[in-house]
Amino acid sequence: MMLQKIIEALKARNELSGWSVRHNVTREAQVYLIGQKMEAQRLTGEENFRIEVFRQKTDSDGNAGMGTGEITLLPDGNVAEAIDTASLVAGLVSNPVYTLPAPAAIPDVPLLDEIVSRDPLGALDGVTRDMLAAASKLDDARLTSAEAFAEIQTVRHVNSRGVDAEQTSSSVSMEFVLQAKKGEQEVESFRELTRRRVSDLNIESEITRNARFTRDLLEAGAPPAWQGPVVMRNNLLATFVAGDYLSPGVLQSLGSAALKYAKGSSWEVGQSVFRGEVSGDPFTVWANRAIPYGITSNRFDLEGLPAQRVELIRDNKVVTFAASQRYADYLNLPPTGAFGGVELPAGKWETASLLEEPYVEIALFSWFNPDNITGDFSSEIRLGYLVENGVRKPFRGGQLVGNFLDALANVRWSKETGFLGHYLGPTTARFGNLKVAGE
């Protein structure tokens, strides 16, 4: 067995002060639709062994240092040659010393959908069937293309201190495009989402909600020039607060010990994350890798650290940073491991009370992509609503302009909460004073 062979070879290397190996096995099914027809169907698999080795050293001034070398080995690769290469690299670089995680209890975080595990392609057949069925009920919008992916990944992590852990997770993704037409005008909405379970995709409600957005785009007018209350809800709120799960947000960046060590985060433990007065609800955040079926959850992270729910910010003040073992050692913080999902406590406001008119509601961004160091953003609005005098008037275009942290310093959160893949928390927020750069 290749993994055992690698472990034995690593144990035999006297020059190494430590090592870890991660065996990754992935199998995936992919389906692509144009209209109702299948454009492509793919089955794919991948297997590799990620090896990391550590070497201690002493510089000419007698200071202890440490070098690391990483290499990925494919099945049937040359083990001795790979370790030689990694060890050589570890001998070249020098960093402050840090430790490897020690064995610890690994929580049993639910990560696997048995339906996907049994038959990824079969699971996708179900997803695409449900998408098409939901779309067929629409009389004024149509599904023009879709993609779906189902993946099973098994990871075993072993290190020289005795960590030996394994986890199997599933993920299922879908994206679809809905279009509507009125005269010569054609509009579309695009939605993509990933969950660990097929049942969490909520396919019919996603199609229905996006069909409504598509219809509203047909009626959308020019963006208003607005400064005042702005409401965000559900998926859009999750993206605003927690980022896109493929590109982490401001909280994950500024709350990262790695960025703190690199002097990129100005946050300090015990200090407020806000630069001015807080006029909204107090802000508390957990970095939570243990959210059941959360798409950024795991039982253990890339270093082998067990999943945790870490209080990052309490009542506006930094409690700690999300720290890998390396940066925890460097900054003298407790090791928390990877960030995971963003969890916020339930707010104190009924949703209805957050919808006091007038306000602007943002429904779709082109891409909410703030500057993760400063928090400044200027994001094009693909669909929004100006709600006043009992009328909900859709608009498109214009930009939401502001600063992420200033926005959070003046926000009210709903009592109602929801799970949205990488976010667990209130489903509605009313930001007190944001600007829409309109016409």
């Binding site: 590799n48 279009q179 891409w367």
Partner: protein, 464 residues
């Protein structure tokens, strides 16, 4: 014969590809095999730590069977002949392929390798690490306000072999890219940052920042300490080449990927040979551009490369294609069928996308602006192929007053507007030309190496 130095397992399987194609084509009307091995080395040095990382490689075989309606594929990790053979049997057995005659294609044969003066694989990691350390050490000492300076060098080796009935081609494409990041701290403790990247297909000789380039990155970061938010509105703007490139990329790059035509997602499909910009606007995609970061010799579907003129003197001419969309639309192929790696599907994807250069000097363009904004640096963009909205965010821009760039800085700045309106407002195009290296996704996935750029453009747009 060019020595590609193909990985041994890949080289050994290459000899069997003609047999696989012949066998596959007994069942499937069209059958092809792609062998793909992509691996890269990254060296990072900053004030506080250094890393040398061999990034996880992606190496595998893609078997494709097509009957004019559905593309069926098996992607197998590695290059084991028995595993590939088993996957081929599984792929073509039990499938009822429709009758289909693939479009005739010329015979394509050859081995290609990126021209370079100094092959990085011939240098030791120590030599590369020393160069990066030296650059980082020099840069961090250029300004006392720097709290961290990070230098990153990355070299990516892409080996591909493609075979179908008429094609037997192999390539080694080497991309090198340097990144410099600078964090500076203001008196109030706030952190600002700036970066620069420089990339090419080429060798080790490409991996060097000049002192002038380093100082420009640092000056940009320092200027951001006093940056203001811009008053939203319509402005006369001059875009730096990188910003011009992102506009080309998002509007007539993503917007003309012809798989989007098939999905009825591209507004451009209704604008062939129609006006989409001022007569000064020319836009190209060219994977054959020597030395450019997004270049290659043939795409992941075996099509050898050449330039595509997308917009000619303000008229939209044609899109960029992959095999499937060209076949389904009955249009000529361009060499843009690309995969993130062997585990992903091929789509119509960009390579090097840019505005063609004009004849104006930057000084002449500035002289035409009484009050406007010079957009120095882009940070992100997003496509809107159906609505043709522009969403480009700039890291910062400078005020232009009385024909001169002033010290006043705004950040960040969002550009928005309707693509034909914005491109229609172009009144001058500079004679300078530059490409920025980058990564491009399809939506939020399918990352491939690209470059984008062009000249400076003088036009009008809404900023916010």
């Amino acid at each position: 014969m060019t020595d590609l130095k193909l990985p041994s397992a890949m080289n050994s399987l290459r000899g069997s590809l003609a047999d696989f194609v012949a066998q596959g084509q007994k069942r499937a009307p069209y059958f092809s095999v792609l062998l793909s091995d992509r691996h890269s080395l990254e060296i990072l040095v900053n004030n506080r730590e250094e890393r040398v990382t061999e990034r996880p490689p992606h190496a595998g075989t893609v078997l494709s069977a097509f009957d004019g309606a559905t593309m069926r594929e098996r992607a197998i990790a590695g290059f084991d002949r028995d595993k590939v053979n088993a996957a081929m049997q599984e792929l073509v057995s039990g499938v009822s392929f429709a009758k289909y005659a693939p479009p005739a294609s010329p015979s394509r044969r050859g081995d290609f390798v990126t021209p370079m003066q100094s092959d990085p694989s011939a240098l030791s990691v120590q030599e590369k690490l020393d160069r990066v350390r030296e650059m980082q050490h020099f840069a961090k000492g250029l300004d006392p306000r720097i709290v961290n300076c990070q230098m990153v060098y990355r070299e990516s080796n892409e080996y591909s072999v493609f075979a179908n009935q008429n094609t037997d081609v192999a390539q080694r494409v080497l991309r090198v890219v340097l990144y410099m990041f600078v964090f500076v701290a203001g008196e109030d403790g706030q952190v600002r940052y700036n970066w620069q990247s420089k990339g090419a297909t080429g060798g080790w000789e490409q991996s060097q920042f000049s002192e002038e380039e380093m100082r420009k990155v640092i000056d940009g970061a320092v200027a951001l300490l006093s940056a203001e938010r811009i008053e939203p509105g319509e402005y006369q703007i001059i875009t730096a080449p990188g910003v011009s490139g992102v506009i080309a990329h998002e509007s007539f790059g993503h917007g003309v990927e012809t798989d989007m035509f098939l999905k009825e997602r591209a507004k451009a499909a209704h604008f062939i040979d129609k006006v989409v910009g001022s007569p000064l606007v020319n836009i190209y995609d060219d994977p054959s551009l020597p030395g450019a970061y997004g270049s290659f010799f043939f795409d992941d579907e075996g099509m050898t490369t050449g330039p595509t003129q997308i917009v000619e003197n303000g008229l939209f001419r044609r899109g960029i294609t992959d095999f499937y969309s060209a076949a389904a639309l009955g249009i000529p192929r361009s060499s843009n069928g690309r995969r993130q790696d062997y585990s992903r599907k091929a789509y119509a994807r960009m390579s090097n996308t840019f505005f063609g250069a004009g004849i104006s000097s930057l000084d002449d363009m500035l002289a035409q602006v009484d009050h406007g904004i010079y957009l120095d640096k882009w940070s992100s963009g997003m496509e809107d192929p159906k609505g043709w909205g522009i969403q480009v965010t700039c890291h910062y821009g400078h005020e232009i007053k009385g024909g001169k760039i002033t010290e006043r800085v705004f950040a960040p700045i969002g550009i928005s507007g309707y693509v034909p309106d914005v491109l229609g407002s172009v009144t001058a195009v500079s004679n300078q030309f530059k490409l920025d290296p980058g990564g491009c996704g399809k939506g939020h996935k399918e990352l491939v190496a690209v470059s984008s750029g062009g000249p400076h453009l003088l036009m009008k747009a809404r900023l916010g």
